[in-house]
């Protein structure tokens, strides 16, 4: 009798511990979000989204230049990075058995671990110093350098998940290798690839270090790709370190917008997966 009771209690205690671990993992996100809501929601207004920065200390103004800047540079990063990343992922999954595949995979894994400040300095050396000015293009390129290895690895994993029998069935129908790969294999893996891309984009949207030496940031609204451009994380950083209360309030609001953007992208990614599962 006593043995059984002890066993059950021990089992429940262990289960309880795993639940506690899960709660502890979720807690930081919940706390961060709650804190940002409390501190930042008050400063979110229409002006925040449509007005750019105003002279120091003056009330009003907003983050429009930073939001637009982030959108532009993330789009540039996608334009440069997604084709290369997805293409590399497909290569690794379909043809990556040999020496070259091993090398590419290794390099991608290393790049995934390179600190973003190093990427920033690298981009500065090759894209900013030679041209003589900071630019949104350089910022987009730096973000792309972070995007490519992430997307390559997730794409590879998703394409690998497609069973070999499908590949063989397509080839047995008389499909050429490229057609079998694109129209059957990649098409089957597509929703997984899209999910991977969305998660990578969410990550890249919040990166600050790569933009420090490339886009620099800009106090004025600008869409010039060849000049410095504002970005949400950069602006949050600048304003948070500034001396004005008004700036601090706006920094909280900016941080809230940033985390909401990341959350929205992640939710969309989940929705894509769920839609695919229902369809299937």
């Amino acid at each position: 009798m006593r043995g059984r009771l002890f066993r059950r209690m021990f089992g429940s205690a262990m289960t309880g511990l795993t639940y506690a671990a899960a709660v502890l993992a979720i807690l930081p996100l919940a706390v961060i979000f709650a804190m940002l809501l409390v501190k930042g929601a008050g400063s979110i207004n229409w002006d925040f989204f449509v007005k750019s920065a105003v002279p120091f200390g003056e009330p009003g103004g907003g983050f429009a230049h930073a939001i637009v800047g982030t959108l532009i540079m993330v789009s540039l990063a996608c334009a440069f990075g997604l084709p290369i990343g997805v293409g590399t992922g497909v290569f690794l999954a379909e043809f990556g058995g040999g020496r070259l595949g091993f090398t590419v995979r290794f390099v991608a894994d290393v790049l995934n671990g390179v600190p973003s400040i190093v990427i920033s300095i690298f981009a500065w050396t090759w894209l900013v110093k030679p041209t003589g000015h900071f630019s949104a293009l350089a910022g987009g390129a730096a973000l792309a350098m972070i995007l490519v290895p992430i997307v390559a690895r997730t794409t590879e994993e998703m394409v690998r998940l497609v069973p070999n029998s499908l590949r063989e069935a397509a080839l047995a129908l008389g499909y050429q290798r490229w057609r079998a790969t694109l129209q059957v294999v990649v098409r089957t893996a597509l929703s997984g690839i899209v999910t991977g891309c969305l998660v990578a984009i969410a990550r890249v949207a919040g990166e600050t270090a790569p933009l420090l030496f490339t886009a620099l940031g800009n106090e004025f609204f600008s869409t010039r790709l060849n000049g410095p451009m504002a970005a949400l994380p950069l602006q949050v950083w600048r304003y948070a370190l500034g001396p004005y209360d008004e700036w601090h309030r706006e920094a909280w609001a900016g941080a809230l917008v940033l985390i909401t953007l990341v959350l929205a992208l992640s939710l969309i990614a989940r929705a894509v997966v769920r839609a695919k599962r229902q369809h299937a």
Partner: protein, 271 residues
Amino acid sequence: MTAPPPARPAASNAQAAPATVPRLATDALTAWYGSTSGVRDVTLACRENTVTALIGPSGCGKSTLLRSLNRMHELVAGARVTGRVLLDGYDIYDAAINPVQVRRRIGMVFQRPTPFPTMSIAENVAAGLAVGKQVSGADRDGIIERALRRAALWDEVKDRLHDSPLNLSGGQQQRLCVARTVAPEPEVILLDEPTASLDPAGAAHIEELVQELKREFTVVIVTHNLQQAARVSDVTAFFYLGELIEVGPTSRMFTAPEKAQTEAYITGRFG
């Protein structure tokens, strides 16, 4: 130097092609995996509109042989073939031949049903058409219907041609794969243990199908089910440890086999 085979001969029910040149034949065919051979020195002939069954215990090389017949074997790294495989007398392994073209004339149905999950039922059936000559929209629908009728699946799916094939049962999915294989009108159909993953009812459907298919195509079927081989085939070839032991009309093979090994396998003494 053999020339590439001509375009498909016209109407296959013409008596004009007498039984001198078998539809599909092998000549001293050996299939290699690196330096070991999966199946050695096979010389076999399949006449038009017949069903040839390849039987033998696991690992005897029958699937390897089958995959050599439509140049799927060479897709494995390190795999190659020596000897010849003759489609209407022309060697499909000739250096001038594109293997992709061969696979459009020799179709294959695999052990597990493999419908393409991102395509609808109709799109699956038409999947093989995309790589052949262009067909117009109306023709395409006609071809899809004909293929599904030949696969005895039309009545069951005609109202849901645009649905996902993943809602079909295993047997229906396998029949869909058969429809997909016959739609582009190949000349030979290879079946690699097509009923292995099906329930008895589904398997029975496929066996009826094989009898129907032989009227228009030449069929080669690999099966580990001896009763199935006896039921559906006209010619049976017995393999053991990579060698062709005996080949002959099915009725004779199952009642009066010549080799002792054949008799031992058929009576269930091993395998």
